[in-house]
Amino acid sequence: MIHPPASATAEPVLSLRAVAKHFVLHLRGSTVLPVLEGVDLDVAAGEVVVLDGPSGQGKSTLLKLIYGNYRPSAGEIWVRPDPTRSPLELGRATPREVLELRRNTIGYVSQFLRVIPRVSALDVVTEPLIEDRLDQPGATAAGALPDDGNEESDRAVAREAAREEARRWLARLGIPSRLWDLPPATFSGGEQQRVNLARSLIKPRPLLLMDEPTASLDAGNTATVIEIIREARARGAAIVGIFHDDAVAHAVATRRVPMARFHAAPVPLPGSAREVMPA
């Protein structure tokens, strides 16, 4: 059994050890695309780590590895679910454990909102809080949807509280209230991104991953996002982010990590060079 890294004094929320990622393209003669190599990184509560470097150096790939969306080719990714529990290693965690980490521990602001047909902006943002409730023990099939067609009152109260919280987030991120009941599919890029932010941030999770959260925002909304990141940090979240705008990076970072040190050499792994060449 491999134990989590021993730097127990800082108790990092996130620890990466010798993480590597290369993509094997089976449809292209098993070409190997090396992206990351030897990533060692600890992030503690209250830290905002900004990943620096030009595009193509694996910044987004690194965030996707930490979210469990990509699977590492080597190394270990340890995430501490909360201060009372010991860290889990993503590569050894079961799918259900990874899903639980995503629900309760790891927030991820992706670059784009993945819209769900017919679901309103308000419901998109409310969902993480409702899901949480459905996940609680005792939430049974029969209790969840009684046959009289009305929700149980306590459930309805909780749902309305979650909706109220979602309205606060939408308002704070400057989404006009006339849009709240509409599906975000027709919103502008900036509006979709703000709905995405609200959905990802509404639940205060211990680890936040942010991939260009301000990319399509105006100055006012960018200032709001900076404020939200600082608040998250103040409540003790560990944050890893990518920001195209250096002023934003400067405003939020407690530490900056150049990606160049993790960048895998653009040399195909042994055995693949021959296959890359056309016959």
Partner: protein
């Protein structure tokens, strides 16, 4: 299956299923677990064995080897293929549901919508006509069918309405496990979106465990927590849906993912 820190036992445990048709191997050593509230998609092209897997899990096909273990609401574990026909049918009517690709295979096309929804309840001993009708109307509303259509037979419904009625018919008894065979294919895209939204909401609200066979990766993305990829009767890759779609490892999964527009 790896142990994890959740100590709840799975609802369904499929172990080493094997099925041949003559010399052709339709299913080879298929194993997986399914937990309450979990939607598991089985993807692959036609002939990959996904329908054989679904029908074997459902008890409709007998495997040549392997077993399907189901833990019922009372906690007892049943070997589905060791049950007699009456026991299998009782299970199918109460704790299980089955949604067919073609709604005509899962509905009685010439009896009223209300009777279609009420049938499983009557099987459970409901006799009060007013209650049956009221519950049927509640479920019609829940699947977005005008309750005023309660007396109309599904033959008079559109394809999308028929599929929604089939779902209501299955869910009215609050089953714990629902098997779905391509529930959205054969429907227009706009009709599909409505059905997907409905399925997504109901599976979450009812904490249903669902085994969903689909060839549509976008459907898997929207509905499923986990995914199995099948090729030539074998499960070639398994994992979280987004992992398999965004970072496919097996050559066949890479082929599937790269063959569609934006799954």
């Amino acid at each position: 299956m790896m142990p994890d820190r959740f100590d709840t036992p799975p609802l369904l445990r499929v172990q080493g299923l094997h099925k041949c048709y003559g010399a052709r191997v339709a299913l080879h050593d298929a194993s997986f677990d399914l937990w309450p509230g979990e939607v598991l998609a089985v993807v692959g092209e036609s002939g990959s064995g996904k329908s054989t897997l679904l029908n074997t899990v459902a008890g409709r096909l007998a495997p040549d080897a392997g077993c399907v273990l189901y833990r019922s609401a009372d906690g007892a574990v049943h070997d589905v293929h060791a049950m007699n026909l009456a026991q299998q049918r009782a299970l199918a009517r109460t704790e299980w549901g089955f949604v067919h690709q073609n709604p005509a295979d899962g509905l009685r096309m010439d009896v009223s919508a209300g009777a279609n929804v009420g049938e499983r309840l009557m099987g459970l001993g409901w006799r009060h006509y007013g209650q049956l009708r009221a519950t049927a109307q509640t479920w019609l509303r829940r699947v977005e069918i005008d309750p005023a259509r309660v007396d109309d037979p599904p033959r008079q419904f559109s394809g999308g309405m028929r599929q929604r009625l089939q779902i209501a018919r299955n869910l009215v008894t609050h089953p714990r496990l629902v098997l779905m065979d391509e529930p959205t294919s054969g429907l227009d895209v706009s009709v599909q979106a409505r059905l997907l939204d409905l399925l997504r909401r109901l599976t979450r609200e009812l904490r249903l465990a669902v085994l969903l066979v689909t060839h549509d990766l976008a459907v898997a993305r929207l509905l499923a927590h986990r995914m199995l990829v099948m090729q030539h009767g074998r499960i070639v890759e398994a994992g979280l849906t987004d992992q398999l779609l965004d970072d496919p490892q097996h050559p066949y999964t890479q082929l599937l993912v790269s063959s569609v527009l934006q799954p």
